[in-house]
């Protein structure tokens, strides 16, 4: 009961923050993804024809939605937690009876909610440009939830180990963004030479984008069960890593 109140409190605080600074949390991705739809989907896409029988704009839509979900889930947790550390307001939670698990889940679910809200915004924008279908709704929701969960957890870990604001930007800039662009958002990996197709299989975002694309369009470059298994394992490992960091007090306790 007490833990449930603690969890609801952290979550409510996070959701309130998302809406309080909505111009920084919800709007930017809407604008960026809208531009992607205009330029890559509409202007260039109309000249590119189809990929695996799917119009190009429709092919990139799942990837763009997932890209927004991933980036925002990560960014929400890393910035909210790091700023709380920086302001030392995180001590409010540390001195309280809130357990490490509840502390982590409160922030992480907050991040997931921002990711999903931005996903909805981008989907609405996509509807202005193309007609969307849901071929496998359960798979789509599962991939969406697991992806938002994993990247929120990753943002949480980043915020704990970050020593300054620069450290909160390194992973999104130098790892997540390149992996997202190379994860088959804008192309099918079958377009790549054999060697690069094999290298691409080591990119975790490929599984996420393809899982989501399968849920939406019914087409995928990889086997969907493997994608779901890898994502579930990754979430489990990231949970354990965060709980270890919290127990050790990394970034929080001396």
């Amino acid at each position: 009961m007490n833990l449930w109140v603690s969890f609801k409190t952290i979550l409510a605080k996070e959701i309130w923050r998302i809406f309080r600074v909505w111009t920084q949390t919800l709007l930017p991705s809407g604008i960026t993804m809208g531009l992607y739809f205009v330029i890559f989907g509409n202007l260039l896409g109309s000249r590119l024809g189809t990929i695996e029988g799917t119009p190009y704009i429709l092919f990139i839509t799942p990837g763009l939605i997932m890209m927004a979900v991933i980036m925002n889930s990560y960014a929400n947790v890393v910035s909210s937690l790091y700023i709380s550390r920086f302001q030392r307001s995180i001590e409010e939670i540390l001195v309280s009876t809130t357990s490490n698990m509840v502390f982590m889940l409160g922030f992480v679910v907050g991040g997931m909610i921002r990711g999903l809200l931005v996903g909805i915004v981008v989907t609405i924008i996509a509807l202005f440009f193309t007609h969307l279908e849901l071929k496998h709704t359960f798979v789509l929701l599962l991939v969406l939830t697991l992806s938002a969960f994993f990247f929120s957890l990753a943002g949480f870990a980043n915020a704990l180990v970050a020593r300054d604001f620069d450290d909160t930007m390194i992973i999104p800039t130098f790892l997540i963004t390149p992996l997202t662009y190379l994860g088959g958002v804008f192309y099918s990996i079958t377009f790549l030479p054999d060697i690069w197709q094999k290298v691409s299989l080591f990119n975790p975002i490929l599984y996420i984008v393809n899982g989501f694309r399968y849920g939406m369009l019914g087409v995928s470059d990889i086997q969907i069960s493997i994608a779901l298994l890898i994502m579930t394992l990754a979430c489990g490992l990231m949970c354990l890593l965060n709980l270890y960091l919290l127990k050790k007090g990394t970034g929080l306790r001396q």
Binding site: N2, L3, T9, R88, E92, V95, T98
Partner: protein, 322 residues
């Protein structure tokens, strides 16, 4: 029942600095306890360990009999802490800061709402409840932190320099409030640099220096150790030369001000006035030269520093470790 029991507590930071060297301390339930010491003595480290913000190297800490390692949640539920440094989210409203704090302790909103109103009104902050923290003055922010520490109704309130940087009027209002809290049965541990504050509020005291408790006794017993008090006398008439007083050491500051040392066990202060009267000197007013606790505090710290130098030949203070 002890509100706080600390046994053989040590803390060595990763850079090798030992902040606490095996301290032992007990604070009885209902006490108003002062924990004093110079900067870097180990006060804040002790409080941080007690409130779980810092991990101890060894030793044992119990809050109302509950070990902070074995029953962390229960132990934490008894403590309210007002930290030395401001640590609220500056973008939140006063009301939300308290609402969230109550929530972190698992207190449902229905109950929290009543308590928030109660404490904000008591601390004259109710009208400010919808203001964001960043718009408040320093004194108001301090009061918000006190209200926040009380919202889960702890049995032990730890105040780490609660009146630092607060003007005299607000400081006195805060003292009254904290006294009232203590009278209601809440144990209070106070660290402060205002020794007048500690002397007037606290029943018991511990002085910590260089990671060791160098004194732990009642305020009354500590003040009794002071054998000489120095008084400043403001005279009604001006004098030209220093009067020779039997058994009293006097110094002339100016024509209308005298400084007199009064030995606690030997001298009778009435005798001082009789002798002054005999010299035709009238006293308009008198005051202590410095706060009594301050004088004792300085002596104890100096004695401890001298011992450290004598014991190992190293002057830690000059090494910048304080």
């Amino acid at each position: 029942m002890n509100a706080l029991t600390i046994q053989n507590l040590t803390k060595t930071y990763p850079n090798g600095f030992t902040a606490l060297k095996g301290i032992n301390l007990t604070v009885a339930e209902g006490d108003f306890f002062a924990l004093l010491g110079p900067n870097g003595a180990g006060k804040s480290t002790t409080i941080s360990i007690t409130t779980s913000l810092t991990y101890k190297t060894s030793g044992e800490v119990k809050i109302f009999g509950h070990d902070i390692d074995k029953e962390p949640s229960l132990a934490k539920s008894y403590i309210g802490v007002v930290p030395q440094e401001f640590n609220c989210n500056i973008f939140e409203t006063v009301f939300n800061v308290l609402k969230y704090q109550a929530g972190y302790y698992g207190i449902p909103y229905k109950i929290a709402k009543i308590r928030i109103e109660k404490y904000l009104k008591k601390l004259h902050l109710w009208d400010m409840r919808n203001k964001t923290i960043r718009t408040l003055s320093g004194g108001m922010k301090r009061r918000v932190m006190i209200a926040r520490a009380l919202v889960h109704e702890p049995k032990l309130l730890i105040l780490d320099e609660p009146t630092a940087g607060v003007d005299i009027e607000i400081r006195r209002t805060m003292w009254e409030f904290i006294k009232e809290i203590n009278q209601q049965g809440i144990t209070v541990i106070l660290t402060t640099h205002y020794l007048e504050e500690a002397e007037s509020l606290c029943k018991n005291i511990a002085i910590i220096d260089q990671g060791e408790i160098i004194e732990n006794t009642s305020m009354k017993a500590l003040l009794q150790q002071l054998d000489v008090e120095t008084f400043i006398l403001n005279l009604s008439n001006s004098i030209t030369e220093l009067p020779q007083l039997k058994n009293f050491t006097t110094r002339m500051i100016d024509n209308t001000t005298l400084e007199v040392d009064v030995h606690k066990h030997c001298d009778d202060i009435n005798e001082l006035f009789i002798q002054l009267n005999h010299h035709g000197i009238r006293v308009q007013s008198m005051r202590n030269k410095i706060n009594r606790l301050e004088e004792l505090f300085m002596r104890l710290i100096k004695k401890n520093d001298d011992n450290m130098i004598n014991n190992d030949g190293i002057d830690y203070e000059s090494m910048g470790q304080l």
